[in-house]
Symmetry: C2
């Protein structure tokens, strides 16, 4: 197949590198940086760097920030070929899906979100192995033919993904608020403490894990958070409420309740690990 | 030297295993479980399992829960030999230090806390390599001779520790509330969410990291938290306040402030990583 990728940052770049390293598909790439396009061309990860070539693509991947992805899709919807599969890779799915609704009736649009990342961004940080073992979330509409979906599944599995998770844009956004977006907020909030600079010598793995993803791209995450703020505030309310309960039981020295809460947390973690 | 260890769980057991594997010191061990004592004797990690032999030890390590450590030290203070170095390994330092103050004027007492752990407990989970690269915190009183401290430092470094961190019991308890205790609470609170069981397929590294230490020993941590509740509630207040600020900026769609907070968190993480 011919695969076109709009945006050769960490996510799009890793797709280009994985496609080049592991498949025989031919790749068209587009990015606003001529420097990155040159690099991708020279290394053979893409064979064409022109937006015009997107009209030849069987699958179009859009790896841009959500607002830029919608803008790109609106500007280029007419140029995709009949029957092309168009997949955005943004971290929020309701916004993109709603925005492009009905935009290209001659193509099949599917929302996507690869569950992988790094604390680095850009094409240079992109890796052919980034998606190894990860889940690829797809949020196909009801009208997507089973055959088209099968094509997508095979394509993603061939790049290293371990499984495909099919869901709705709504459920995706709710779950992602909990599993990913809130983790980034907690990590950032945890690090923003006056005594953080004295941590050296007083920490083991838990502090490092807790603050790992504080090293994030604030422009991208601000956009993602604001496009999912209903679910995200809901999730933050749950967490703040649990932390407040912990705080109360600790300040009141409520041994029994504190022990009970900790036991619940342990049992939950043990249960989900078994899955 | 002769080293006596009270309590052969994860922490004490790892000391016994590291001493046996890496030094020529001879080890005396004591535990309430005859089964564990038998194992440690048979594997040669200790050569004596009698409490009476503690009177021969040059260094006594107490690897029990804080209240049990204090109880043990009170009950056995008279039996340690003249000039012995007595070190407790509990996760809180003010409580233990204050409780044993003046208890054995013929020995040198030093508070200690090895910065290492696992999400498992007990002698079977103990590892000779547990302390490799870790920081060993010591909180010696002002009267501890430099020579005694040097003996301790050399001893811990010989077991795999990468460095010794000297501080006061107060500063230890404040820092540990932030770097370790609160991380365990956040992890537990994070996991206690009604939608947690649906996480499969929707998570990458950040969720796993965030909930890793929820798998904790609730009896030990309840005790540790309650013995450090002034500092711990202080730290929880800082975190809850930061999370509440994030929540406000998200719900009000305050793009600028949200971006600013995320940038601050990233810059802090980048700065502390450089140290």
């Amino acid at each position: 197949m011919k695969i076109a990728i709009a945006g050769l940052g960490l996510i799009g770049g890793s797709f280009a590198k994985a496609i080049a390293a592991r498949t025989r598909h031919r790749c068209i790439g587009y990015d606003t940086s001529p420097e990155i396009l040159r690099k991708a061309l020279e290394s053979g990860q893409i064979e064409d760097a022109s937006l015009g070539a997107f009209s030849e693509a069987d699958i179009v991947l859009v790896a841009l920030y959500p607002s830029a992805a919608v803008e790109f899709l609106k500007a280029n919807s007419g140029s995709f070929k009949e029957g092309a599969i168009v997949i955005d890779l943004c971290g929020v799915k309701r916004y993109v899906t709603d925005s492009v609704n009905g935009l290209f009736p001659h193509c099949t649009f599917i929302g996507g979100h690869p569950m992988a990342g790094r604390e680095l961004s850009g094409f240079n940080a992109a890796q052919a192995t980034l998606y190894d073992g990860a889940s690829m979330i797809l949020t196909p509409g009801e009208n997507v033919p089973a055959e088209t979906l099968k094509t997508c599944e095979n394509f993603f599995l061939s790049l290293g993904f371990a499984k495909i998770t099919l869901t709705t844009p709504e459920h995706h956004d709710e779950m992602i608020a909990f599993t990913s977006q809130m983790a980034h907020i907690v990590s950032s909030a945890y690090a923003q403490n006056p005594i953080v600079y004295s941590f050296d010598g007083f920490s083991a793995g838990s502090f490092a894990d807790m603050t790992r993803v504080a090293k994030l791209n604030e422009n991208m995450w601000t956009e993602l958070f604001l496009l999912n703020r209903d679910y995200l505030t809901e999730q933050l309310d749950v967490l703040i409420s649990q932390l407040t309960k912990f705080r109360k039981n600790i300040s009141e020295a409520n041994n029994k309740e504190l022990n009970h809460m900790l036991r619940c947390g342990r049992e939950i973690k043990e249960q989900i690990e078994k899955r």
